[in-house]
């Protein structure tokens, strides 16, 4: 039988990542609140993990392992099985523009879950790269002296801190769209839970 759209390792890693991301974002907001980057932007206690900065840090430094190890597993799996290449590439600029125009004209086609459109591919690749960058900038904010050369390359401690914050903002922006679309197209959410359809063989995704 042909493999499902989302084989079980992908589903498992997706949901582990979902938990890790929520933990990292909410605990990150708790740490951020001690010394804000955007004046006036505070995160309400409801959306913060940890009652104040110290427990938020404990959460953040625990969640980071889940995020980084799971992310590494996903990358290895995606590269070894060829899933990343087959599903995310190639991204053609022409298709990207076309899909954006179609979407703006409310022509959203999600009949075939097994093929990602150019915008989906672009957003997925982008959020994977930003996630990896978050791990790097996070490591630098944690250990700015041991990695002082890398911190200098990225513009200094405050610049790295800002980059880490921007990375979070991009991921949160992605999440809003991602969750909204999964609610609008529930079969895609269902597919990430149960595996989804078995695409016809020939061009089988793995």
């Amino acid at each position: 039988m042909a493999p499902r759209l989302h084989p079980w390792p992908v589903r498992l890693m997706h949901w582990i990542n979902a938990i890790a991301m929520v933990v990292m974002i909410m605990s990150g907001w708790g740490i951020y609140d001690d010394y804000v980057i955007v004046p006036g932007l505070h995160f309400s206690e409801t959306f913060r993990l940890g009652t104040w900065a110290a427990p938020s840090l404990l959460w953040h430094f625990a969640g980071m392992w889940l995020l980084a190890v799971n992310g590494l597993c996903y990358m290895i799996y995606g590269l070894v099985t060829g899933r990343l290449r087959k599903r995310m590439l190639p991204i053609r600029v022409g298709e990207l523009v076309q899909t954006v125009c179609d979407t703006l004209h409310l022509k959203i086609g999600h009949e075939d879950l097994t093929v990602y459109n150019a915008v989906q591919k672009f957003l997925y690749v982008m959020v994977i790269l930003v996630g990896a960058l978050q791990v790097v900038t996070g490591l630098l904010v944690w250990k700015p002296i041991q990695f002082s050369a890398a911190v200098a390359v990225l513009g200094g401690f405050q610049a790295v801190r800002l980059e880490h914050f921007i990375g979070m903002s991009v991921i949160v922006g992605f999440l809003v769209v991602h969750v909204a679309l999964s609610i609008l197209v529930p079969q895609s959410l269902w597919a990430m839970l149960t595996g989804g359809p078995r695409p016809p063989t020939g061009e089988k995704p793995s």
């Binding site: 001690d34 010394y35 940890g50 404990l58 041991q146």
Partner: protein
């Protein structure tokens, strides 16, 4: 497969017509969906992750694992970047768990640095005696765990030279400090022996002012956000 709960003889089909409206409401899916939201509700109300002892224990376990990771990452020879004295912020940023108006001045006459633990010479140190030790100056960035930073210039004996002078057992794992403003803390020996770890007595060439740690302040270049005022180091 036939359900084991299906009766052997089926009732009169006419009964279905009479209760069509009720039957339409009987959806198994609704039960499942109701169960799901019940579970979600239990998650929202039943478990507060912020005050759960088991969660706290798990987080602290990961934290002590992280201590081992950062010990492995720590390079005792790697120096923090230094800056020209012209970049020193004057006066330094005040930061404590209390407001600057609540600083209790320390009297230079009455203050001593008391020593305890794995140390050969435990005679207490006065301000004058500390001033006789050879000084090292460093202009480094003070990065707070909260996220802010500033460039400061501190001078005083290195903690390593002090520990060697008093005959401390350098194989001890930690150096603990008790402070005049009741803010105890401890550091690992690798950090204590780092060449940029000072027992600072001066800031920007002048003696430390009262709100900024007079008469003695532990300054570490390799740690985020430590500020310690007037230490007495027992070794453990």
């Amino acid at each position: 497969m036939k359900s084991p709960f299906r009766p052997a003889t089926l009732p009169d089909p006419a009964i279905l017509d009479n209760h069509r409206r009720l039957i339409r409401l009987l959806e198994r899916r609704r039960v499942l969906r109701g169960g799901l939201s019940l579970g979600a509700l239990a998650l929202l109300t039943g478990c507060d992750v912020n005050s759960d002892a088991a969660v706290d224990k798990a987080l602290r376990y990961v934290s002590s694992f992280n201590d081992r990771v950062q010990a492995a990452l720590f390079d005792p020879a790697h120096l923090a970047p230094t800056y020209p004295p012209s970049m020193i912020l004057k006066p330094p940023k005040f930061n404590a768990y209390y407001d600057i108006t609540r600083v209790k001045p320390v009297s230079a006459q009455n203050w001593t640095l008391e020593l305890a633990g794995l140390i050969a010479d435990k005679r207490p140190w006065t301000v004058e005696r500390l001033a006789t030790l050879p000084e090292t100056e460093m202009v480094i960035k003070h990065i707070c765990v909260e996220g802010w930073d500033y460039i400061g210039g501190w001078s005083g004996p290195t903690l390593r030279s002090f520990l060697e002078r008093v005959g401390a057992d350098l194989r001890a794992k930690y150096v603990a400090f008790k402070t005049a403003d009741d803010y105890p803390s401890s550091i690992d020996m690798a950090t204590a022996l780092h060449p940029q770890t000072l027992l600072a007595t001066k800031y920007a060439g002048a003696p430390l002012a009262d709100p900024f740690g007079f008469p003695l302040r532990l300054r570490m270049s390799t740690k985020l956000g430590y500020r310690t005022r007037s230490g007495s180091p027992p070794l453990k």
